[in-house]
């Protein structure tokens, strides 16, 4: 199993964008920021991959859902 995917978890996990800038507020009105936490299909990236804290992940998911409602970011990307 591990032979198939060498070093996956270590290579996927990236240092958080949010960790670098403490003043950054996760806001649903900022689609540019939220897009950093979406896959190219428009799904929310799991915290274990993006490396954000649990608290930040909760803020992100909430903001993403609000931004989707306002058509700032898409629900799905075909």
């Amino acid at each position: 199993m591990s032979d198939d995917k060498p070093n996956r978890s270590s290579s996927r996990r990236s240092s958080s964008l949010l960790a670098n800038d403490k003043t950054l507020v996760i806001d649903y009105k900022n689609p540019q920021l939220l897009k950093a936490f979406l896959t190219d299909r428009g799904k929310v990236v799991p915290a274990r991959i993006s490396g954000v804290s649990a608290r930040q992940q909760r803020q992100i998911t909430k903001a993403v859902k609000r931004a989707r409602m306002l058509a700032l970011i898409p629900y799905t990307v075909q």
Binding site: K35, L38, T39, R66, M69, L70, A71, L72, Y75, V77
Partner: protein, 166 residues
């Protein structure tokens, strides 16, 4: 107030404190300056009736929507910030619902127990003129998301498959 709308006053209104809300409206791209001004003036009357106060209104211009709403691919975004009780939200949204030009709206509570006198309203008639005149061209919309180089988070389908398999 309650006898006009049949609404029960909010708890915050009973306590004598107010809440701060923000609402984003998406208007039809065909809305022109007079339409927007009419809408704002109409809503100002509603706010006055309920003892609420608009702090600011911003026009974000005609933006491309991430998906089409009511067959409209673009929409004019208006950002409203105001202080009042929950009754104003109900009445404001009821008025938006019966306004044809409004494609969508979304209200978020920003703060509780605000001191209404401490927050001056920035709304003046001059400002309204500039607000209702949408900015000519906002920022160029980002190109389709698929073309962006998504460094680490790519191919989530593969990821999902992995998770699903026990």
């Amino acid at each position: 107030m309650s006898d006009i709308s049949g609404q029960v006053l909010s708890v915050s209104a009973k306590k004598g404190t107010k809440r701060e809300y923000e609402t984003i409206l998406i208007l039809r791209p065909s809305s022109n300056k007079t339409n927007i001004l009419d809408l704002i003036h109409k809503m100002q009357a509603v706010f006055d009736k309920f003892g609420a106060r608009i702090i600011k209104i911003e026009n974000w211009g005609n933006r491309t929507l991430a998906y089409s709403i009511k067959r409209s691919a673009t929409g004019i975004y208006l950002y409203w910030r105001y202080i009042g009780g929950s009754d104003i939200v109900h009445e404001f949204e009821r008025n938006l619902r019966i306004t044809d030009a409004v494609l969508r709206f979304y209200t978020v509570k920003v703060d509780e127990d605000v001191d209404a006198t401490a927050r001056p309203s920035e709304i003046t008639e001059d400002l309204l003129q500039t607000i209702s005149e949408p900015p000519p061209e906002p920022e160029p919309e980002p190109e389709p998301v698929r073309d962006e180089p998504h460094s680490v988070f790519s191919n989530d389908d593969e990821e999902g498959l992995e998770e699903g398999v026990p």
